[in-house]
Symmetry: C2
Subunit: 337 residues, 2 copies
């Protein structure tokens, strides 16, 4: 049986949320632990997670390798894989890539809406592509086994990341712009290049990424998934709900504004609707993945295809993405001589 994996969540974590993961049979979740936080502030977030791992050992544990997904299934728990939505956590120090990988960070976005030291975000007027440091950091992420995530990045930067990275990259939470023309959704050019390079797209349930917003229906969402699988390949798509359950609106403000402006920035929202939008009725929390699986079958996907989308593809991607490239050992060196 293939696992159930969510490619991105950022909930207001609690025993309730972790229990819902178990009730929903979710085997692994990529969780955001940091946005605009510095390295030290990111470490404080990891410390919070360590307290949750200590408090709820029967519900969750920290995932570090793809094998931890199997361990999660065997022990009836959810494996939690850390990710960063912005590279603020490595500051201007490439050495922090390996440090954060040692602490379990398995995904890092190169940008979050704005220009970063590494690349351009999807809200910038100019798109630099990968910067000098960006190219170095992608190579270092490739070496240690940290996935390049371009969910909030601009088009040219994303295409260059796909090209420059020697491991497949991910867009953990977005939908096709051809279906819903949101700034955060991705062009067919990007999606095709992503699929051809072995990368992964996680389909988002966040209303700003949905055609019709909160009113988007399950069949519409599932039909979009089927069409995108036709475009990218059935092996290159998964779920990345972007579930922001139980978060106060102050959190979406931090995501959008960080410390980069003193003014309000509404991102995908607006002055009249600055907060988190209401979720669609068919996906409220971790217990609702079964509805998506049923919806995919209802639009004609075969059983094996549904399993691939609901977790099998992410598992294969984790297997290829999380392990450090082995250094040559003396035996290997000897064998090559």
């Amino acid at each position: 049986m293939t696992p159930l994996i969510d490619g991105l969540q950022y909930a207001n974590w609690s025993e309730k949320v972790f229990s819902q993961m178990r009730a929903g049979g979710v085997d692994a979740v990529h969780v955001t632990i940091t946005y605009h936080e510095t390295f030290r502030e990111t470490v404080l977030q990891i410390e919070r997670w360590n307290r949750w791992f200590e408090a709820f050992p029967n519900l969750i544990f920290q995932g570090r390798t793809a094998a931890d997904v199997a361990l999660a299934r065997q022990t009836g728990r959810t494996a939690i894989f850390f990710g960063a939505q912005n590279p603020s956590c490595i500051e201007d120090d490439i050495g922090l890539v390996e440090i954060l990988h040692s602490l379990g960070l398995r995904f890092m976005q190169l940008t979050y809406n704005n220009q970063s030291l590494l690349a351009s975000g999807c809200y910038e007027a100019e798109d630099t592509g990968l910067t000098r440091m960006g190219r170095e950091v992608v190579a270092e992420m490739n070496r240690v086994g940290m996935v390049v995530d371009m969910s909030h990045s601009a088009e040219r930067s994303t295409l260059q990341a796909i090209e420059h990275s020697t491991r497949p990259i991910a867009i953990t939470h977005a939908n096709p712009a051809s279906w819903h023309a949101a700034r955060r959704n991705k062009s067919d050019t990007v999606l095709r290049a992503l699929g051809q390079s072995g990368g992964m797209l996680g389909f988002s349930v966040y209303p700003h990424h949905l055609k019709g917003g909160s009113a988007c229906t399950l069949p519409e969402f599932c039909e979009m998934i089927a069409r995108t699988a036709d475009l990218m390949g059935i092996g290159n798509v998964g779920i990345g709900t972007d579930l922001c359950q139980d978060q106060p609106d102050s959190v979406v403000e931090w995501m959008r504004v960080g410390r980069w402006t003193k003014a309000a920035d509404y991102g995908e929202g607006s002055a009249s609707a600055p907060g988190f939008p209401p979720m669609p009725g068919w996906f409220a929390d971790n217990r609702d993945f079964g509805a998506i699986a049923d919806g995919l079958a209802a639009v004609g996907m075969a059983r094996a295809e549904v399993a691939a989308v609901m977790g099998g593809n992410w598992l294969r991607f984790f297997e290829a993405g999380f392990a450090a490239r082995a250094l040559a050992t003396p035996q290997q060196t000897a064998a090559r001589a």
Copy 2:
């Protein structure tokens, strides 16, 4: 065959030093990575080590578990285990204990000569014993698998650490004060309590800890080891050379002065001899452990006893000390019900 393990070094690391470890057949070394550095500064030191691991994969690798000592022997390399000589690296944040354990820190001294947030150093006039935070941090170190090291601590603090810790502790680099009455050497009361609790003493070759200083002879050093084994138990002693090879004198100044005073503090040195003292002729670098092993045999130790002192005891201690205490899994919880 038992491994060769050194319980403490702080060299000016280089390919030369790593090559000498290999030439000397040293399987594992506990290396100091930090003294008075903050957390972020300590991370910078780990980054330096990561670059050395990347540059010299045929000589060294990072040790994280006792099993890495066997891996070192199998692959003809030296396993490097990280340690801190002072708790500055955890600042005032107990959560950093687990963070630093995740980054590979396996030893931490509770004090370095002075009062810390945790306990008293051996140069303080007053000895508080373990502080409130000290008791909490020892419990957290016990939980995650980080060895409490009291090499530079005061008597009462050391006895309380032995008593309070639920895992055996270590004095990684010191000698008996009854042999040489240096401030850093330890009373028979401490050594007896350490041995009875399953703890370890690593014998130091640093001249200030030797009777006669740099002129101490190998037979005198080895005779002292044999007598201390009689006092503590042959299973509770090892080597902890405190080798500070190739270090400029500015480094010993940082060790002693850090940022805690604007004045000079000579520690074990003096105004007329402020730098590193010359090593005894029979131990200059990692190639000289064979001389100590031969010296132990020459003072009458049996072959198995020599092997225990040269590494077997440290290996057993690593096995008991480095692994995190397992959290209850659902199966275990079910089995208990």
